[in-house]
């Protein structure tokens, strides 16, 4: 357990260093070390400390948040296909953000509106799927997919009535773009706190993965646990979407890959998701910045290109 997490830590650190070094201006390892030690030339210092580091940390936090949210929702629904993006939570956040942009609100209000949109989408999806009985996983997934399609229509409508000069910013937000992140600290703090909060619940989650009746028979208070996980996962998603727009499929790919290698013990999977999800998004963002430099791709394009085949493969394998 300690070993696999240490390996992931080292990989995450290397990915962050790579992201710092690469870009429209490449910083050599020697210059990189010099800057880290507080030396080096002024251009490099500004580039690394003020531009690349905040962006890289924001990418790391967003990736970690999405992967942990995905892993939590998968246990909650006992379905490895659950993911904040698939369940339409990101769509709700996007509608909130676009609405704020359309009415010309400031950055802070755009963030607030996106957060409200994500929470509203969560309440809507889980509320509708819950109905009078309990959550059945297939019903929830279907509700999520249909609600996501609804958000899609609202988004298209808003784009259609938006004056064209406002469009580029909106489109980038829709596809997910880390360059929107102002400061990496709020998502990083939320990520760290959520891991500390969720680790004592991790063994409960292992038992819940066996089904709610089995979990109750083994002493788990199922209803309070489900609500805690549901609120936490929504909060993580809302924070991630508010930081960097709607980036899809990180919550799907990362937990799946980790389960293949590490098994399904949440005590390992959850911290591993934070590290590996962060690493994945840092690498994807580096690719998005460099592949057609000096132009930048939205990072959501890269994760979607990775995520769609993974989702289809999972669906195919589960029959």
């Amino acid at each position: 357990m300690i070993r696999s997490l240490s390996v992931l830590c080292v990989v995450a650190l290397l990915a962050v260093l790579l992201a710092l070094a690469l870009g429209s201006v490449t910083v050599s390892p020697i210059d990189l070390i010099a800057v880290i030690q507080g030396e080096g030339n002024a251009l490099h210092r500004t580039l690394l400390w003020e531009l690349r580091l905040p962006r890289t940390l924001a990418a790391f936090a967003t990736g970690g948040l999405l992967a942990v949210a995905g892993a939590l929702m998968q246990v909650l629904l006992r379905n490895p296909l659950a993911d904040p993006y698939v369940l339409g939570l990101s769509g709700g956040a996007a509608v909130g953000a676009l609405l704020a942009m359309l009415t010309g609100m400031g950055t802070l209000l755009i963030s607030g509106s996106a957060f409200a949109g994500a929470m509203l989408a969560t309440v809507l999806v889980f509320g509708l799927a819950h109905g009078t009985g309990s959550w059945t996983p297939s019903r929830l997934l279907l509700t999520g997919v249909v609600v996501a399609a609804g958000w899609g229509a609202v988004i298209t409508l808003m784009l259609a009535i938006t004056p064209s000069y406002k469009l580029p910013g909106m489109l980038y937000w829709l596809m997910g773009d880390v360059s929107y992140a102002r400061t990496p600290w709020p998502p990083l703090i939320v990520l760290a706190l959520s891991i500390v909060l969720v680790l004592p619940l991790a063994r409960n989650l292992n038992v819940l993965a066996r089904g709610p009746m089995q979990a109750a028979a083994l002493g788990v208070s199922v209803r309070p646990l489900e609500w805690t996980i549901y609120i936490l996962a929504s909060l993580l998603t809302a924070t991630a979407v508010t930081t960097a727009g709607s980036i899809g499929f990180v919550g799907l790919i990362v937990p799946h890959m980790l389960r293949l290698v590490l098994g399904n013990d949440q005590r390992i999977i959850l911290p591993a998701c934070a590290l590996a999800g962060g690493t994945l998004l840092v690498l994807a963002d580096t690719l998005a910045r460099t592949v057609i430099a000096p132009e930048q791709l939205p990072v959501g394009v890269i994760t979607a290109l990775l995520g769609v085949p993974t989702f289809l493969y999972l669906l195919h394998r589960s029959r």
């Binding site: 490895p80 996983p137 292992n206 028979a217 399904n264 013990d265 005590r267």
Partner: protein, 256 residues
């Protein structure tokens, strides 16, 4: 040692009249068999006794305390349940599955120690599935999974063992082995309460029997008093011939 009592208990089978309320005293050392046709409420009764389903009326008492007043974790230390149906949406090994039986005994920050591992290993050995301990559950046969489920209950080590069709999917020799294991557990003070499809397993190995009828009627008591051919014929709506073999009655359905 634990006793489970039901007082005026009516289980909640949707759309059925209340029938006959259950006032059972299920004591340590006894082996109970629940017999009844499909839909008589055997599984509902087990889930109600484990506190997983609310009763329509009446209550279940664990060592004189109503189950409703106890915390889930406290109940799980005294009462364990082998389900008839199990979910496995995520891959898990046999050893990991047995180890979740320790869940009610560990605090949130604790992880399974050598002692827990040893208990799980011993339980897997008792059920002849120790050689499978690193295999994934979804690669096992139905009978192997059934034995892993019983090993998980054994690892949990509650005083009251509730089992829903514990001999399902098992080969004949494993049926006998599992029933002997349960009888031995009763001899060291556990309370065994199980639903059975096989009348003859109950006749041979249970000390007490509960007959559950589809209309909600019920009767219970020591096995030799309950296993009357006429009562059983009414229970299953099936004519029976009684013969005796190896010191126990054997009920054989009459053809046509």
């Amino acid at each position: 040692m634990s006793t489970l009592r039901t007082r005026g208990l009516v289980i909640n089978v949707p759309g059925r009249p209340d029938g006959y309320a259950l006032d059972m005293d299920i004591e340590s050392g006894q082996t109970w068999g629940v017999l009844g046709p499909n839909g008589a409420g055997k599984t509902t009764l087990l889930h109600t006794l484990a506190g997983l389903l609310p009763a329509r009326s009446g209550q279940v008492l664990l060592n004189e305390s109503p189950l409703a007043d106890l915390k889930r974790r406290e109940i799980a230390r005294h009462i364990g349940l082998v389900f008839q149906e199990r979910q496995d949406s995520f891959p898990a090994t046999v050893m990991e599955t047995a180890l979740i039986g320790r869940h009610p005994w560990l605090s949130p920050w604790e992880s399974e120690q050598g002692d827990d591992q040893a208990r799980a290993q011993q339980a897997l050995t008792s059920l002849d599935v120790d050689h499978l301990s690193d295999r994934l559950l979804n690669t096992l046969s139905g009978g192997e999974r059934q034995r892993v489920a019983i090993a998980t209950l054994m690892t949990q080590n509650p005083n009251v063992w509730l089992l829903d069709e514990p001999t399902n999917h098992l080969d004949l020799h494993h049926q006998v082995k599992v029933i002997h294991l349960l009888r031995d557990q009763a001899r060291v003070g556990k309370t065994i309460f199980m639903c059975l499809h096989d009348l003859n397993l109950a006749a041979r190995w249970c000390s007490h029997v509960l007959l559950l009828y589809t209309n909600g009627d019920a009767c219970w008591g020591p096995a030799d008093a309950m296993l009357e051919s006429s009562a059983l014929e009414k229970l299953y709506n099936q004519k029976l011939i009684t013969v005796e073999a190896d010191g126990a009655p054997v009920f054989v359905p009459v053809s046509a």
